[in-house]
């Protein structure tokens, strides 16, 4: 079984994206033997009011509940964020919180951000932090110039020790080493995907050595990226705990 921690639905304003509707992405994931996918709304990244995208997402996937696990995108610098987040969790039954400080122009260390992260932690909701959506080197001239700030992540980990974080779509092996050096991974509360980690040069093994197989999850960035590069890594990964990475870790994290 494979559970994908990082997929999207909605309209990306900078490039035509195939499989960006629930029906098409569901079928696409089926074809690639991905059984379940955490999904968030691309529209929530671009709407001023992220909640409109969260509600759209909930409506979009209502007939695909066996395929998608919705994550809420909340901007803690936008009015009403607390009410919106609670609504997403309690009414829309969303299972995770996804943050985009580099799109929504706030810092993870802002007072409201910390308050939102602590609220999610109290509600037993993990925080998904994608390092980027698309590779910054090919960015559209209106797209952001920034990726996830490691300094802010480092600082947030210091004050949110009990929060569960998922860091995806970045150089996970380097980020994990950076955080280990700063003694920020001692609670085993940070999970990493390997979407941008190569296996054939041993970087994926380095990541697993650093954080253990208990803290590595599968993420494809579909429909932005092909799923096959991640499947190739799984095919060549020779560890006995591979089921943890494919699905068990995220099942446990999300209480599935």
């Amino acid at each position: 079984m494979i559970i994908d921690v990082n997929t999207y639905l909605g309209h990306w304003p900078f490039r035509k994206i195939k499989y960006n509707q629930a029906q098409t992405l569901s079928k696409h994931l089926d074809n690639k033997q991905v059984d379940l996918a955490c999904v968030s709304s691309i529209n929530s990244i671009f709407y001023k009011d992220t909640q409109q995208g969260n509600i759209e997402l909930s409506e979009e996937i209502k007939d695909y509940k066996n395929k998608f696990i919705p994550f809420a995108i909340i901007n803690p610098s936008y009015a009403g964020w607390k009410k919106d987040f609670i609504y997403c969790i309690e009414e829309l039954k969303m299972k995770g919180l996804e943050l985009y400080p580099y799109y929504h122009d706030y810092k993870l260390t802002d007072e409201n951000s910390i308050e939102l992260i602590n609220l999610a932690t109290e509600m037993n909701i993990p925080i998904h932090l994608p390092c980027a959506v698309e590779n910054i080197r090919q960015k559209h001239w209106l797209d952001t110039n920034k990726n996830l700030s490691l300094e802010e992540l480092d600082q947030v980990l210091a004050v949110c020790e009990n929060t569960k974080f998922i860091v995806s779509n970045g150089s996970s092996h380097e980020i994990a080493e950076y955080l280990i050096e700063r003694k920020k991974l001692k609670n085993n509360n940070v999970y990493f995907d390997f979407a941008r980690v190569e296996i054939f040069n041993d970087d994926l093994y380095k990541l697993i050595d650093t954080v253990s197989a208990d803290n590595v999850v599968f993420g494809s960035v579909s429909p932005f990226q092909y799923i096959e590069p991640q499947l190739v890594k799984l095919q060549y990964l020779t560890i006995k705990d591979i089921d943890k990475i494919k699905s068990d870790n995220i099942k446990k994290l999300l209480n599935l």
């Binding site: 490039r15 035509k16 994206i17 195939k18 499989y19 698309e134 590779n135 910054i136 080197r137 090919q138 960015k139 559209h140 001239w141 110039n145 941008r196 190569e198 296996i199 054939f200 040069n201 041993d202 579909s222 429909p223 932005f224 990226q225 092909y226 799923i227 096959e228 590069p229 991640q230 499947l231 190739v232 890594k233 095919q235 060549y236």
Partner: protein, 263 residues
Amino acid sequence: MDLFKNNKVINWHDHVWLDDKGNLDERRLELTIKAAYDTYMDLIVSSLPVLKGNPTPEEFRHCNDVQYQAIKKHPNMMKGMAFINPGYVKESLEEIDRCINEFGFLGIKLYNQYHISNPVVRDVIEKCIKLDIPILEHAAKLNYKPELQPFTSNGEHFAKVASLYPEGVFIHAHIGGGGDWQWTLKAIEEFPNIYLDISGSVCDEGIIEAANSYIGSKRLLFGTDMSFSSSIGKMLGADISYEDKVEILNNKKFEKYLMRRGI
């Protein structure tokens, strides 16, 4: 992996590197060779470029010596492309002769020292045309500012030189190298002597389909540029015909460069 297992696979873009002491990084070489065998590749065409600054003739000769050392360790799996700095015209032309005649390299590799359309590069291009060898050039259309590699060639630089030298064979490196691949495809579309390798870590859904649609499989080459899983995955995931995939994995136009070396 049946696509790779059942077809000839020529990897036209990968590298060996120097270690901290300036010697061949044998650990990285062995990982690359193991990856090539594990993923059913038949040949890796490799080079050792200097990524920063303006390498002297002594430096680029050393790079090619080290590349040849790697080839001698794995003669059945690796062939070379001669890295030169075209700013040193006389020394570059001599080095091309040395690498082609003494080392059996297949072509040349240019990095980001000069745009490929810069007149400085013309003697080198004319030499390659005379020898009938391909030119692989580091390339990208980078939209990120500040520009960290101001002399990296983009598709328009290739287009200029391809129209000036229609008999030249120019390989635009790594469509998945992190630049604006849609822009690149439009820039090189109409120039039949510009080829494109599919390597690089960027594995955007649709990148291979778009490349195949704009320039066709006969102008596409398989490569990894150290991103094996991304490059292999792109080929496996692309929604193009099996025949096109087979053509990309072993581009027929480039077979002559291998055959003259007995491959």
